[in-house]
Subunit: 340 residues, 4 copies
């Protein structure tokens, strides 16, 4: 399998390359970057130094994609829309976009969070790649929009609840600083971030768009709500999400609900105790714990993921595996790094 | 003013001493500790080295309290109940307890979270010392139960909402490791905690007892609920709390609600943007931001406090000031330490 | 006493303001900043919110300095030289510069590390303000160059060794990220810095200039060497420095050497065990431990300071106190913040 | 290849298992632990959850070792000596000990740091497994003492310098908290460690024994010295070491010295700039930078390693590979985790 990663100089791109370079079915790869063209991949992604001596290519996306079985887009939001047409025209077998461009099929909902879509005609082509929920339904897909990191955690918490009537969950999520990308900025300045915790994008984080889109589809309620409250925390990797909902009457077997929903899904682990963020660092796993209040009137669910693996590179590879009909675990079953 | 701090070897005790040693009205002090008796205070609390050369006394609480105007109890939960009777018998003018023993007047509610109370007859004597809400109503109190750290953050978020009918808020809180005290334990082992985030005491943190007690009193609804979801985060100082509630219809001026509720309260600062945890480290301040959703159907409130100051030692001193009728700011207006 | 702080928007400026605003002898103050002019001081330095509502002034340095007893310069390196002449012309009683411009009187040595000096004629006017070593010798000074943060730690380690012949110490120092200032940059990007440690300015950190200048003066050896090896560590505040030297033959009573050298110096604490960095955070103290090898052929010395207090704002205030002939402890004896 | 890991519940044991479970030549494995017997390996080492469902065995070492090609000892210091005889008697093909028991062949030197050796007769049987230096010389070894973590970093810095006459290097090293093991203790209590840095084992860290042993062997000077100064830093993984030595006259091509010494060694990377600790986390690599002062009279060398991989589990596997005559890179070339 020959793959290309377009725009591979960011943190998600680095994680994607880490997984692809060890993927047993990847026989050849190329990585492009406008900002880092010509530099050794290992200078930009030091964790890959022992895996490759290659450099970032300066070629255009369409050129890089030529003859590739799979093309990953790891560009800034809005850039994938510009690049995708040429890739399809060039005959790319499978395009996996890890930006936000094609995550929300509903143009109005998309516009509310992102502004008008520039290539709405491409939207129907993309499948939403929430791999642990979609599973083999992704088989045969030719274009996949990999979910956002917060959105992945949020939806893994929400999906099993869709059958309970009337829930309006609140989702409290905290992300590590790697979620902000490689460019230094005031909110990731070490002196200010090192021991800090603060909310941001209050009442309107963009990942709500894809979360609501699916939550409404799953529940069948077009006005179903689910509030995503995003916070920045003083760690580098991972997202911890806690969902709370009133009204889950009768549902005391919360854990069972989740075990059943994710039965057979290899990367979702439903635990008997609250999950710990560091336990998933470096892995493609989601750890979940769900519990109802003694009177059954409330439900609380905790989810942890590695934002760059399950929330980006790992999920993209898993979706690729599923789309191509190979074992979804290929290249993704590795031990994590703990303690770290 | 002559003060005693009983059981002053813990983190809250250290913070209490830091404030008392710089308090302009404190003319003499004594600190006792069973575990550290005879050791220089500065060996146990290195931050106090430049302030004092004294040692922890080994004397019994009643002995230490003799002739003191104010006695602070910084003992383990359950110990204050044993010690308090002798203090009152000895004529202590003001007792401020920073443990949980006297925070919940409702014996049944107390028992649900802590087990049967061992000195219920003393409960009526104690006033709940939520200083920023109670204010001058604390004047003349002779026994004060200082609120818990999570409970302080939670109640500062809840209080202004009491007049909105039917709210059932969810409170998502993250504490630093200093909240776990000075004894090393697996959850505060650096390799495991350094970049971790996890929930604990799920569906039953003890601070819910005092939170519910007041939330029900303020709302006048004896079955009003408010779920406190406590988490451990990878920082040392502070608590960040985010409250979410559905049903706050019409209340778009959320900030105004808080500014009005805390008008004139010197240590509560209502901000126009989300508060940052590190901005209150070392201070007795609470920073709050409140916002409603565009359609007015949801409210979100963020609160940050220093768990050892506003959540323990600082609030205890503020409550003392109020009880004694002196300016509540005495000894508490200091700059924080930032960045840190 | 009326003071002005020119260029007060940086971390050192913030710490300087924190101390001056609580200094019992400061009756009035003004702070200027080109970049933050017009903004409330508390918006830029959140730790000062409870201390002041004032804003940064936009006035020129000379204007800000008019009628002030003391003027602090907290500008970027190279800017003080441009500003100082006008201050002196305007009759400033005492100028304390916390930048590097006037730290090295030897023009050639200065030039080797910084390039040609732009105002060499002002150099003789400035006294090097290593407060814990200079002490009352600073009395009456009208212009003081406050030492660099690394240089302070280094010289406090070196000073007591000057009498031992032939030492060529190696100094290993690690600084927190606040030493890099308020501007985000790749080396202070949280994902890259959070758990990192790396050397920089290898074989040529600029603070070597002032360290060598004094080391040579103290030893009387014009070619005496002392290598400063600077590292960046994953914490915000403080500098930890370890000195090692071969050849300290006979000097087994290393601790005594330091206790004797710093006898009566209120901010230097010589400990019987290795000092801990966090114990000095927020304080103007230096904690030192010195030990010789069993055979007396080696000496090892550890020093910890808060880089923004003892290494910047605190030392500047201490030097001011000394220059003005008031108790050097005024405004500087506060408890630290621990744990933090 | 069938392997056993005795005492595999510690951090080094976990890292060893992570590598062995992915090692392409390991066909079967067993892990024992007295303290965790019967527990799933993934409950103790959460990073291994996706790799195995097995449990820790309660069997005695000799029993666990029966029929195994390689037996790793990951016991507390002093325990390997008790266990080893039975393993040899039982015919173990290769024993790799990651404790300190057999690292120092010189009984007197050993005794100075550890006390009298309890099984000196076994000492000659063990080879010191500094894999990057020994390389193919380890082929055929039947018992290997894997070096200590600090000692690995120190010796990789020292080895290329052995030919320069008269050097007496000072080595300043900082370790992460994982080096202290899984048992909570005051020095790894998060509130106290989170932003701290302090020296320990001053003038006598035990790893000096093995460092001196080899440094004297390499230099041929039986009294050659090299002082190891160990510090605890506020991070979890890794060791950063900086070596300084006066007297390296003429040796301006310091980098060349290291490139030459480690030519062809797959896990040692000599860089043109100071190495960063986080770049080796999760890998078996050592990154080194060496530079001489402009006048050639001093040399400074920086080394970074992951203390649990290169400093423990990874080096043990590499030594095993070398001893068995298979490619030393087998099972060890994986990407790291960055940022993390």
């Amino acid at each position: 399998m020959r793959v290309a990663v377009i725009g591979a100089a960011g943190y998600a791109g680095g994680e994607l390359l880490r997984l692809l370079l060890s993927h047993p079915d990847v026989t050849d790869w190329v990585a492009t970057s406008r900002s880092q063209a010509g530099k050794p991949v290992g200078d930009v992604h030091p964790q890959l130094r022992s895996l490759t001596d290659r450099r970032f290519e300066a070629v255009e996306p369409a050129e890089a994609a030529r003859g590739r079985d799979v093309v990953f887009l790891a560009l800034e939001h809005g850039e994938s829309s510009k690049v995708a047409p040429a890739l399809f025209a060039g005959g790319a077998g499978l395009v996996v976009d890890i930006a936000a461009d094609f995550r929300v099929a509903d143009e109005a909902l998309y516009a509310k969070y992102y502004g008008a879509h520039t290539s709405p005609e491409l939207l129907p082509r993309f499948r939403y790649g929430l791999a642990d929920v979609e599973g083999i339904r992704l088989r045969g897909a030719t274009a996949i929009a990999a979910p956002g990191c917060f959105a992945t955690a949020a939806q893994l918490a929400l999906y099993p609840l869709a059958g309970i009537p009337g829930l309006e969950p609140a989702l409290f999520a905290v992300t590590g600083s790697s979620g902000a990308g490689v460019q230094p900025r005031p909110t990731t300045h070490h002196p200010a971030r090192a021991h800090n915790l603060f909310a941001y994008s209050v009442m309107g984080h963009r990942h709500e768009a894809e979360v609501l889109s699916n939550w409404r589809r799953w529940t069948g309620r077009s006005d179903a709500s689910a509030r995503l409250m995003t916070h920045s925390g003083p760690f580098v990797r991972g997202i911890h999400l806690t969902l709370h909902a009133n009204g889950a009457a009768g549902s005391r077997a919360a854990g069972e609900l989740y075990r059943s929903a994710y039965a057979g899904r290899p990367f979702v682990r439903v635990l008997e105790q609250p999950p710990e963020l560091t336990h998933v660092v470096g892995t493609n796993e989601a750890h979940i714990h769900a519990v109802a209040s003694p009177d059954g009137s409330e439900i609380q669910v905790m989810v942890v993921i590695d934002n760059l693996v399950k929330g980006a590179g790992g999920q993209a590879v898993q979706a690729m595996n599923l789309a191509l009909g190979i074992d979804e675990r290929r290249g993704l079953v590795t031990g994590g790094i703990f303690p770290c």
